[in-house]
Symmetry: C3
Subunit: 469 residues, 3 copies
């Protein structure tokens, strides 16, 4: 395949020539805008320490669960791919790379292909698409690049045009890397996000110890409900010192609760004692979402809810290798019933902002767009995870805009731990946005000047505004 | 924006030139057909009294919950918009209009924009798109128009080419406006619809008193199940005097029931006493749907079921301002299980017709089209509420036609209380139908002559037939 | 309508000229590939006995529940259509044909129209589209053809280019027709499939007697759980003698279970005694799915799960005429929760293959593609039943490819009992695949050479591989 075919300048634009020309014109106005990345999972150690990346496989393959899971689905063992497991020596990264190269055709037609091709060509200067035949040559080429100063993490952020990127840390995280970043004047470019699942979910391992630890580091009594809330208040303030403007909350369902003080204390006692039923654990998590909304009303932090993934559905895998191994699968959602308590408690509070992310696309037109088009606090996050793809973005825009309007969208965020895929992901979003707007222009549903402005807003400014950056 | 851009003659047609030419040709055959509007919520007082409308804001903004909710979602208070609240003086309508104009860009890309642009240009003769800068000028222009005789309600119906329009009244409604319309020879052009939720839903306020009142006006004993059914029978006959050919039933779920006489009486006793649990209330409503189907078998009235909206999800809003404030949100539906009792009781009865409307689009291909393609009594209503939009219509036609066929569709109805949007809504439907049919022609799935006929049928005749007009 | 319009060579291809040219080019590479039909419901007696078909109505109309149900939905009685009912004489097939012809316009825009037009033109050499006016002429023409040797079943298989076709038989089926086929050297071209619902579902009539019969023919004690499993093991081996490479399992839900030996025996005892509750019946079926997966691990047979149809929703119809009368309606599915037990028991077993078919399209992106993209054993079957249509195939490919990749798809199968529709169904799939791939090429998401290969794979080879043919 020629270099041009590897990454065609018109890729993802609509096939119809008139639409394509319009999409291209819109895209030219946004392709060079800064990258605003207000939610993601890159490793803050990269930016704090600014050390070179080890090798192509360790950077591009082993941490990318999109790649790993697909290889596994056709029978490639995780051991062969270097996925850590207690008592197993890691394979040679070059061997991992070769396996990946041999199977790279599996990703044809998937977003991974767009992301990896883009990273390899645009970021790493590869001139051929990866295959079994060039695996070694490209491995050496990439490793050479990674050893040079312009491939250190901070240099990459600059080269990518990253205006700001948020990492995500647990409530107990000591934020050592962010301290270094603060000292170096890099907070603002990099910022943290408060993700307290380790102390809001009674079903995480060591929950009671986590709560105790939270009490110690905040000098509060986390055995008492009010003390526990105060502990969060203090941690949130501490996170804001390191650039945080947002919190993030993972939830299997979107259930929220609004209980009495006595009920809350009783739940907390049970959670600490480990005596809650699964339904009570769900209720605890739901009450904590409402509490977090209350704290957001106080301190203005933007609340993100990522709901709808059933985690660790492969229990043997979880036992052998832990979480995030590709076996998290979306399930059906009830956003209307789930958020009822939170919204009726805080939904009209001045300044509250809650950004919702779904893995159940049926909720776009049925629940989320209607809700976002009513509640002042609600905005819709971009397509998430499996749906952060060309078709996923198309379904999202087709479904939400008519009911929620553009103004209730939170722009884009890449939500990735794969650093080199970040430019590609924003590029895919921008191309799809331009394709979508081109169609609205062609169908005379919006004016061309409006579309130009919306393309800009959706590419960067809506994310800035939504996350109060 | 130029006038042409405000409302382009090719708006909503497919972008591909060949498809567009075909769509335009089909559209030319249907754009001037009469408007058949067999279901909606316009105010019969307008047509009975035929008085001028007050002003642009009171006509176009304040009653339109699509507009209000979007403004609210970005923080505009309903008080500012003139939404009634006990103890608040209404703002100057001109100020409401200015707020609307300032925020009109919020509707870019939404159906409201298509409807309002159409009403302002085609109906009201405005030559510019509304914005902050021309708000006052357009307000004055519109108010001038509204004061002239050709903008009285009856004149508008004529100008719009409305062949027939149905309003919707509760079982206890005295139908005073329809009496006036009958006296004036306007029944037929305007007709009522029997919507008895006030006496079929034990959870409405004053339910027992409503039932008593129903007994009084029909001279029946509504404390007895059979008497209550007789009361409905009589009210339905009375409604038919005023042109009604249909009934309408709102339901959060589509649950129906088929209980024994003793169980029914027990439910009724509980409903009157106010002692039913929520589940029993649901059962009561479900039994009433089955009863209404039974009465339709008797009297031939077409039964409409609009299901799937969770009403008043913002309880503070409901307490302050009542229902229909934009906080009704769709929820997931189970049409198969829900309609089981009704269909197994009456589904094959000769002459029964039940038209189904969903807010859960997932039901199109999974449940509704398969059901409509089997049961003689079932037809599918057009996309409803949030889904009465360009994309919503596309999803609907793409999803239902292959399984239900065209013959099981009920054509279009606008279901609106926004009088001036009616031509626009029918126009959007007709344009989308023509775009859909143009694609079927281009893909050689139907013949051009067939498509021409279908475009006509879908634009007017299917609605006539479905509603037995 | 001219002959060309009846079946245009470019039918179903995208309207945009560039896409159409690419689709056509891809299609030319696959249109003549053999038909691989690894799952379906044709009658093995046809191929064993190789007798002429009786007449056009008996072949094309009366066994096709797609046609029957649509006719019924507009009020045509099944008696008029010759659908068997106890105590009713069958109508003259010519009259059935006339009724069908008179209503043939009902199928405009539906897949039935594509299938019937194709069968009539390509297979039966009709030169006009069916209508009331030519009904008799075409009936006579078709009957003439059916009487000639080249319209015998085996000749048709050859003419259609059927490389292999699977029928589907119950666990108790004596396989007499397959014995004949084996003797004649036709096993391989025709093969059976093991579908044991009659002995795995406690709610089928005569369940206990069926189990007894299973014990007799396998010389096992089916009153004991292990004996019952052994009986299945033996029947599966017997089916493999007649070409079976797969099993098939129908289920309303996808619930699976993984119970203890004692619990299993207790369920079996209850099932035999007829004392299980509906929930226990569901559990029994769910346990049997897990057992069947276990046997597939042993013997390598490919397991198919067709889930999500609520059967016989019209109880009066079922009582009068039995099952498969068009009243089976899809319901919402929970694949993630449902398959949890099976997957955690056998999901990583070497060689296990489970192909999933859904009638709830919302599961494509939310559950099935993510699951297939993780579990080595899972593959996604093609769109099924109501969704085996142009738009259904488009929604399927748009939804699943990005997350599951092409490699986790099982290609196409026609799943039909309508023999003459088989070429048309494969043709529709191939055309849609080529249209889908043409768009990926045009959007520079895959290379043209890759698309050429994928078109071939999706047309035949993936089905071969998925079913281990």
């Amino acid at each position: 395949m020629s270099r041009e075919e590897l990454l065609h300048p018109d890729r993802l634009f609509p096939a119809e020539p008139g639409l394509r020309a319009t999409a291209r014109e819109l895209y030219e106005g946004v392709c060079d805008l800064p990258i605003v990345s207000p939610h993601g999972h890159t490793d803050p150690a990269w930016f704090a320490q600014d050390m070179p990346f080890a090798d192509a496989a360790s950077l591009l393959v082993i941490p990318d669960h999109y790649l790993l899971r697909m290889l596994r689905s056709v029978g490639v063992d995780y051991d062969v791919l270097g996925v850590p497991r207690a008592g197993r020596a890691a394979p040679d990264p070059r061997d991992v790379w070769r396996v990946f190269a041999r199977h790279y055709h599996l990703f044809d037609g998937t977003p991974s292909s767009l992301w990896v091709d883009h990273a390899m060509q645009v970021v790493l200067g590869c001139e051929e698409r990866l295959c079994a035949g060039n695996a070694d040559a490209l491995y050496d080429h990439i490793n050479d690049r990674l050893a040079s100063p312009e491939f250190r993490p901070r240099a990459l952020l600059k080269r990518f045009g990253v205006e700001t990127i948020a990492t995500t840390e647990g409530a107990l995280d000591p934020l050592v890397h962010h301290r270094k970043l603060l000292a170096d004047g890099w907070i603002g470019t990099v910022r943290t996000t408060y993700r307290p699942d380790d102390v809001t979910d009674p079903e995480v391992p060591e929950f009671a110890a986590n709560l105790d630890r939270l009490g110690e580091i905040t000098d509060t009594d986390t055995a008492q409900w009010d003390g526990m809330i105060e502990a969060h208040r203090r941690r949130r303030a501490e996170f804001r010192r390191f650039g945080a403007t947002a919190t993030d909350h993972g939830a299997a369902s979107a259930l929220t609760a609004d209980l009495s003080p006595a009920e809350k204390q009783e739940l907390l006692d049970g959670a600490r004692a480990g005596t809650l039923t699964p339904a009570q654990c769900e209720l605890f998590r739901g009450q904590m979402l409402t509490e977090m909304a209350g704290l957001s009303v106080e301190d203005g932090m933007v609340m993100q809810i990522h709901a709808g993934s059933r985690r660790n559905t492969d229990r043997a895998m979880f036992a052998a290798r832990g979480p995030n191994m590709g076996a998290d699968i979306p399930v059906r959602m009830d956003w209307v019933g789930g958020l009822d308590a939170l919204l009726n408690r805080h939904g009209d509070a001045t300044g509250l902002r809650v950004i919702l992310f779904t893995l159940d696309e049926t909720a776009y037109t049925r629940e989320l767009a209607p809700m976002a088009g009513y509640w002042p606090c609600l905005m819709l996050g971009p397509p998430w995870w499996f749906h952060d793809s060309s078709n996923g973005i198309r379904r999202y825009l087709d479904g939400v805009v008519e009911t929620a309007g553009f103004a209730n969208l939170a722009g884009f965020n890449d939500d990735t731990r794969a650093l080199l895929s970040i430019p590609a992901r924003h590029d895919v979003w921008r191309r799809e946005v331009c394709g979508f707007l081109a169609r609205l222009i062609a169908e005379h549903r919006i004016a061309r000047a409006t579309a130009r402005q919306l393309a800009q807003d959706l590419s960067a400014d809506m994310a800035r505004k939504a996350y109060r950056l």
